[in-house]
Point group: C2
């Protein structure tokens, strides 16, 4: 099978590619994608007019579309956010529509950013999308397009709204959510990390391994039961920072907790307070999507999967 991964140089893209090396891979990104066996590399500007045709020239049966201008940049650069997150996605759909007898499965990385406050503590599957950012707006619009193009039989699409990925591999970054990973990854490696929010802070998580599982399941599932609603809020693990730290202590001993500094950051607290706490994800569970069992399991997966 031919599989196209758009955004193949990112964290999820690399892991997805590594999980599909028994297929013909087309790996596309704005920076050089990984050079795997049986793979074609496309270093492309997603917003360039000829990019969609290049991406689908080999008629991949499955397309993972993970590429996006992230939230902060899409908010700072209005035109770039709309050009990449909306127009390039629509151009891809249009290129597929223009190709005879070609109706690929598209798995689209959407986001919980399609939701904005006010919302209930546990957001149901039929809750409206009122984003608080241009990024969330662009993701919500792409979901609507994927629904409409799927309804018309042009594509067979699935949009996934993912939890915050934890433990992200690599090094601390500037994302407001970075500390959720830092406070586990760094002490597990004997390094220090700062906790900028109170221990009672609750959030909604998936391990990288669970996220890869969600994407693979979405690529293979029977989409008949989705009918006209192709956007799925996948299940996450709801936990507090205290839950995370308890799991850290069980995995690495109480000494690991001493590597965590506690310098509050009101800006981070404010941003995190605006995020959704939890989702019912009832529909996704019924469709076979499964969350991580516990933070102990998330830590174990991290220790196993990290080279």
């Amino acid at each position: 099978m031919k599989i196209l991964i758009i955004g193949a140089a990112g964290m999820i893209g690399r892991k997805l590619a590594a999980a599909h090396t028994n297929h013909d891979l087309i790996l596309a990104d704005v920076v050089a994608p990984p050079d795997l066996p049986n793979s074609t590399q496309l270093t492309v500007d997603l917003a360039a007019p000829d990019t969609p045709a290049r991406l689908i020239a080999q008629r991949p049966e499955t397309i993972y579309h993970l590429a996006a201008i992230v939230s902060g940049e899409a908010e700072a650069d209005f035109d770039k956010g709309y050009a990449v997150n909306l127009d390039a996605t629509r151009a891809l759909l249009e290129a597929i529509r223009a190709t005879p007898n070609y109706h690929p499965r598209i798995v689209y990385a959407s986001s919980a950013a399609v939701f904005g406050r006010p919302f209930p503590d546990c957001i149901p599957d039929d809750f409206h999308t009122v984003p608080l950012t241009s990024y969330g707006t662009q993701k919500a619009i792409a979901e609507l397009l994927i629904n409409d193009y799927s309804r018309r039989g042009i594509i067979d699409g699935v949009s996934l709204r993912l939890p915050t990925i934890c433990i992200r591999p690599g090094t601390p970054n500037r994302a407001a959510s970075s500390f959720f990973s830092n406070i586990l990854r760094e002490p597990l490696a004997g390094k220090t990390a700062n906790l900028p929010v109170p221990e009672g802070t609750r959030h909604w998580f998936a391990s990288p391994r669970a996220a890869i599982g969600f994407f693979r399941h979405a690529a293979q599932m029977d989409t008949g039961p989705l009918a006209t609603d192709r956007a799925i809020t996948v299940p996450g693990l709801t936990a507090t920072v205290a839950d995370q730290l308890a799991a850290l202590s069980r995995a690495a001993g109480p000494a690991a907790l001493k590597l965590i500094t506690r310098n509050p950051d009101p800006a981070v607290e404010r941003i995190v307070a605006g995020w959704a706490l939890e989702f019912t994800a009832t529909r996704a569970r019924a469709l076979g999507f499964a969350a991580d069992a516990s933070f102990d399991a998330i830590i174990e997966a991290h220790l196993t999967d990290t080279p």
Copy 2:
């Protein structure tokens, strides 16, 4: 005040224009708009590249955007529907963004077609938009754009999801909903009309007078309480066909009922069965939008307002 009405040749557009003759009107439509005093007429293709700039050249403080490719045509002509209902609306927003110090109030005619089955009998304000048509998709996307452009302060937008207008003036047309008006308007004028569905059929209505009231209120209201959610499901009157006929009998006597034939139309029944029955419209009522009191009031308004 300068007021732009896009879609000024339509039924609502003409009535809105007639209600604003004490202002400078810019009346735009794809066919010749009405020639009222103090008005500029623009006969334009909404999808033409220079149209947005022409529309806002006089910097109207209020814009009523009513123009659309209707549901059936947008479903039959994919490109035309997206070009007019999505791209032309976005081009208008972009033309405004490109104009210095210009942040008009836009009142956008959205539609209950943003909702699709399955839904509850009474749809709450926070229900998700999963359209079953490309028209509904385009309206839902335009709502998201109006939210985002409003959040950024580019425009001050309000999107209205209107009930089915009844009693529509004029003559019977081919819309599936046409009979809801026909069975009142025609007998009131001594003419026959056909009822293609059972008398127990429930639906959600607003008189043309109420609809004009909704638009005018949306143009003048304080939009602060809307915060980031600029899409308002306005209140309608929920009634069965039997309720309509009872009101007809009270207004015109039992003899009027004899002008109604009852030839079932399974195709119309099927289409109507897919529509929403009722909305809570809690938010709209709190914001000062008021539904018609009864079908007696709707008939009285029709008899008063029809020339």
